[in-house]
Each structure stands twice: as structure tokens, then as C-alpha cells.
Amino acid sequence: MANVEVDLPQLEVRDGVDRETIETVASMGAYKYGWATDIEMDYAPKGLSEDIVRLISSKNGEPEWLLEWRLAAYRRWLGMEEPHWAMLNYPKIDYQDQYYYATPRSMAIKPKSLDEVDPKLLATYKKLGIPLKEQALLAGVEAPEGERRVAVDAVFDSVSVGTTFKAELAKAGVIFCSISEAVKDHPELVRKYLGSVVPPTDNFFATLNSAVFSDGSFVYIPPGTRCPMELSTYFRINAENTGQFERTLIVCDRGAYVSYLEGCTAPKRDTHQLHAAVVELVILEDAEVKYSTVQNWYPGDEEGRGGIYNFVTKRADCREARAKVMWTQVETGSAITWKYPSCILRGDDSQGEFYSIAIANNAQQADTGTKMIHLGKRTKSRIVSKGISAGRAQNTYRGLVSMHPKATDSRNYTQCDSLLIGDQCGAHTVPYIEVKNTSSRVEHEATTSKVDEDQLFYCRSRGMSEEEAVALVVNGFCREVLQALPMEFAMEAQSLVAISLEGSVG
């Protein structure tokens, strides 16, 4: 049902080395999730127009207000220009040469439960290691029955395939569903919060998303509730020439807590694919959200053919006092990454944290960082960014720390470390700091280093291959960020770090 492509480079086998071992290692280097699911799809016609916006809205069975909201965004978008301030080089994107809506035909009538979902779709997620059965855990982790369960919303191209543990979450008052369902079932919440953090006018890509977003996840945690399990959304782009425009909205009411994970993969394609998502987090008084991403979109091949163009707007609004948000991201995929998960620290004593690992290998380009907007008094933020560049890749950290006049006695600490592997890649750090009061403190530390030959030799003299040695040293470099991830993700991220850097030395 799926064609698996694994390119094995020609290898010279020395005596005494098991051929199988070499092939295993080599196949790790190939993007593991590059296969495609062969499934009948319904596409909206290529290109973007008011008709397409109307079509998406009607496919989702949306109310009039949302259609108007989309159309207003679309009209605004027509007059906007694609931003080019980032350190990214890519050919002009033809927005008319994309599909904006693609859905598996079997999803035309929405299945009522996971049992009714097309087996091909379920098999896809199984192969990706994403559990859509409710007893399951993320792959490779053993835990006693009943512990550390993760609820999953699986998004396949433009639609949500299914969400697990809904009933159990509902008992706790937690709403976890696709955003298209939320529009129908919880219109008051969606209408109140949608676009309240990232307005439809925010930026070129967010405005585009507002016009054409097809699906995504919606989470509401009621006051005083600690979400009984981790929530996650798994995004899979499958269809060719199709953009993915998902929209995630998480509302964490007063005194509530949720940890949310996001994962993404896509098949290997020769052409670039556009991904322009919006994530909005609304965090009220004393509430806390942890949002972790392991982004593993197809990065393109060594020459830079294919790969996802990832233009994402993620923002958290700590709207009331003592609200807390922690963004953790591991960015290993995409040909282009343009992403700045931000924190608006509006409530007094609110806190924002940003932990990031960005790896760029081969021809990948990443321009990523965060914005910490301090508006409330005694607000605190912390940024830990680890950028790793290999091959011919360019990796830029771009971050803004802004202390507004009323954000008195606020603090920021930024640590920005870059690691270079080889001599053809680049690391760039672009911090913007604005302080408009006299009682706040901003600290910024930055380092750039190369993977040390002595470290690699030391590891190899203990029996590790060069690849293992690099992975170990790099994982050490990233440790502070890996530690910020939930355990299951930390393990996945560690092996992902190793895989992303295959072939980067020697």
C-alpha cells in the first residue's frame, strides 16, 4: 500500500564489519518517514480564490461568521507582500500552483469513531509509530499500564482523522477535538478566542492561514483542571503539491494545566510543499501550558531538492496574572524553517520560556527564534537556543526581547549557543533587545563552537563510530533543551538528532 524508499549509498565494507550493521546505519540516514500512503483523495481545484475559501468553509460546514472571517482575511492577504527579512533564500512561491484542500475520499462522510476510519489511514499512523489505539503509548517507551498516556489528534493533509481518549477527557471537562468539530460543538469558545492571539491581520502567512486553514486541533482546559494526560497532535502531509494550513487553538482557563505535544512528518517529494500553520495559546490566571514540538518535516535531499517550506506563526498570550508558558521545539526537518514561537507576557508576574534545538544539515535553512514581549509587571522570560549547522546549511537565531514601559522589575535571560559541523555551514545570531523602563534586566549570552576533533577521537577510541560520536556530542550540547521535553519526546528527539546529522562528518 505504501512505497518505501530507502536510498543506500554505495559503501565500502571492511573486513570484519557486518554488512547488515552497515546497511542498518546507512538506512537510518535516509529520512525515515519518506514513504507515501496511496489513497484516493479529493482535491479542491488548484490555486487560491474566494471560491476556494468558500469551498473549504462549506466542506467544514462552517457558520456564516467564520466564512466572513476567512474572506476578510483572504481579501487582506491579496494586498500583502511575502516578508523577506529572514536569512532565507528560496525561489518565489507560486501560490496559485498549490492545492489548498485535500482530503482522503473515505473521509467525505466523517467517521463517528476511530473504528470507522479507513484502515489505510490507521495503517499510516501505525507505520509512523503514532498510536491511535487508546491503550497505546508513543513508540519505544515502556510504562506500566495506565501511566503516562497520550491522547492523539491525527491530522492527515487537510482533515483530522480522529482523536483518541475523547470520552475520558470529557469526564475531566477537557475538550480535545479537531478545530472543525469545535466550530460546530463549541462555537462560543471558538468565536471568543480564535484570532485573539494571532489576529487574521498579523502577517502574510498567518493571514493566508486564516483564509484557508482546513483543520487542526482545539483544546479547552476548564478552570482549576490539570489535564489528566498529555495531549498531542500529529500532522502528516501526504498529498503532492498540497499545502497544509492547520490552526491550533489551546485555551487554558484559570488555574488549569496542560502539556501538549506536536509532531510532523511528510513523504519525500521532489517539489517543495508549503506549510503555513498558526498556533494560538490563551493562558489565563495561574494557568500553565507546556507546548512541545518535534518538527520532522521532510528536509529535502542533499542537493536541496524537495522539502517542506515551513512558515509558522506560534504565539502564546499569558493574558492574566501568573500565567505560564513553556515552548520547547526540536526543529530537524523542513527545507526552510521560518518560525518564532512567541510569548506575550501581559499578566503581572507571568512567565515565558523558550527552549529550542534547531538542526540544519545539507541544504536546509532555518531562521528561528522567539519573541518575549513583556507587558506586565515582574514578568520573567528565559530563552535557551541551541543551533546546530552541518553540511552547507544556514542556521539563524532571531529573537526579540521587549520590555515595555509598564513591565517594571521584569527579567529576561537569553542563552544562545551555536555548534558548527564542517566548514561550509553558517550560524548567525540576531538578537533584538528593547528596554523601555529602568527597573528591568536583560541578559544575553551567546557562544559559537565547532565540534571538537579531540572529543570525536575520544569517543571513537572507546568504540563509537564517527556518527555515534557526533550524535553523542551534539546531544550533550542540546541537553538543557532535551531535558525540557516530556520523556517520550526526549527519547524520540535524541535519536532524531542523530539521524538528522548522518553523513555530516567525514
Binding site: R14, D452, F457, Y458, G463, M464, S465, L472, G476
Partner: protein, 251 residues
């Protein structure tokens, strides 16, 4: 076990000949010491044997149990049972000592076609070996060699040796930077590993380490050659008279 024949080595970048025909044969279970003044090529010999970049072998050979060492990548040499205790152990920030040990052990096992060691068995093993070297749990958790004292670094090298169970151990100036107590601890660690199937090549400036680790054979190295070979008494001779007499003798 280890056979080195007429080994000639030069620095890759400077075109400078460092080893000018080293011949050495270490049998199973034997402990050999190499002594010599600074710049005689002792450390170069240890690096060339373990496969460090930057050296070119221009002539000669080195085999371990008949296998050509010089053709192998460093990790393969390690898997074949060669171990170098570094004079300056390298720091690896962020990588826990335990993680490092386990990764190394499993990498070697994988190369040899053996199954990986389970987390439980590994933990038991490392605790037992660490205890003998007075390495506490806290030191096992700390990043590899980061913030370790000189003595801790050397003990850590011996711990790695104990865990990896090599058959040919090279100790490169393991005594440098050690106080008397630390030297005793390290030597005890080494002596505990001595066995009929395991050989040692101990590189040192000073005789005092050899009071603790008693060698079977002592070689004196100077200007890239072994100029004299004898029993343990040769080390004492150097201790008392220095290298000058020996060097003069050769000239």
C-alpha cells in the same frame, strides 16, 4: 598480542619524522613500560596505535593478535580490544558519564556482533566497578570529565578500561598530575585488571608509577627509537642516573 615492527611515523602537517623504526613485541598477560625523555615519541606511539588523525605511517606495521591495526578505524581497534587511557582525558559537556560508558560499551558489543547490555545489568556492573575505584554515584552522573580534578579524570579512564575489558591496554602518562594517594588508587585499579589474557603498555616519565604497577619489561625510548630494553631494574637505573647516560651510550 601486540606486535610493532619497524614503525616509522611522521606528522601529517609538518612533514616531521617522529617515530624512526620502533619494534616492540608484547605477549599475552605481559606488562611493558616505556620510559623516555620529553619529545621522544612515547605519546605519538600511543596515538598512532589507537588511530588518531594527523599522523602518517611511512613504514612498518602494528598488529593486534595478527590483525593489522593500522588499517582499522579507531572504533574498530577499540572493539578488537585496544584501549588507550589518555594523558589528557577529554571533556564532553552535557553527556553524562554513565551515558558515555553505556554508549561505548554497546557500540563495541554491536561491532563484535554481541547483544546490547540491558540497562539493569549495565547499572549493576558500573556500580561494582566504580566502587573499587572509589568513584561515587554523583561522579557517574556528571558530564564526562567536566569539572573533574586531575585524579578524578585518571580514575575515570581506569573505570572505562574496567568496563570495556580490553585485552591490550595502553596507559599514556597516567601518573601525570596525580598525588600519591590518587596514584595508589589508579594503580590498584590497573593491577586488579591484570590477567593472563590482558597486556599493558605503560608509558611514563617516572619510575614511581612502576613501583605500583610492576612491569615485566622496561623499554627506554629516545628520539623515536627504543634504545634499550631490560627488566624492572632498568627503570631504577633511569630514576637514579637520569636519561643522559643512556643517551650518551647510544650515541
Amino acid at each position: 598480542m601486540l606486535e610493532i615492527k619497524n614503525l616509522h611515523v611522521k606528522l601529517e602537517e609538518e612533514d616531521k619524522q617522529i617515530l624512526k623504526g620502533v619494534t616492540l613485541s608484547i605477549g599475552a598477560g605481559e606488562v611493558h613500560a616505556i620510559m623516555g625523555p620529553n619529545g621522544s615519541g612515547k605519546s605519538t606511539l600511543s596515538y598512532v596505535l589507537s588511530g588518531r588523525d594527523g599522523y602518517t605511517v611511512t613504514d612498518g606495521s602494528a598488529t593486534l593478535d595478527g590483525a593489522d591495526l593500522l588499517e582499522m578505524d579507531p572504533e574498530l581497534r577499540a572493539a578488537q580490544g585496544l584501549f588507550l587511557a589518555f594523558q589528557y582525558p577529554v571533556e564532553i559537556p552535557g553527556v553524562g558519564n554513565m551515558t558515555f560508558l553505556r554508549t561505548a560499551l554497546n557500540a563495541q558489543r554491536k561491532t563484535r556482533g554481541e547483544p546490547e547490555i540491558s540497562a539493569g545489568d549495565f547499572l549493576k556492573l558500573v556500580r561494582e566497578k566504580a566502587k573499587n575505584l572509589k568513584i561515587d554515584a554523583e561522579m557517574l552522573k556528571r558530564p564526562v570529565n567536566v569539572g573533574f580534578s586531575g585524579g578524578e579524570k585518571k580514575r575515570n579512564e581506569i573505570l572505562q578500561m574496567a568496563m570495556l575489558e580490553p585485552k591490550m591496554c595502553i596507559l599514556d602518562e597516567t601518573d601525570s598530575g596525580l598525588d600519591v594517594d590518587a596514584m595508589k588508587l589508579v594503580s590498584e585499579g590497573v593491577n586488579a585488571l591484570r590477567s593472563a589474557g590482558r597486556s599493558f603498555l605503560v608509558i611514563t616519565h617516572y619510575q614511581r608509577l612502576l613501583d605500583h604497577i610492576k612491569p615485566d619489561v622496561v623499554h627506554i625510548m629516545a628520539a623515536g627509537r627504543i634504545i634499550k630494553t631490560g627488566g624492572p631494574e632498568l627503570a631504577l637505573e633511569v630514576e637514579n642516573n637520569g636519561y643522559a647516560d643512556l643517551l650518551a651510550e647510544v650515541k
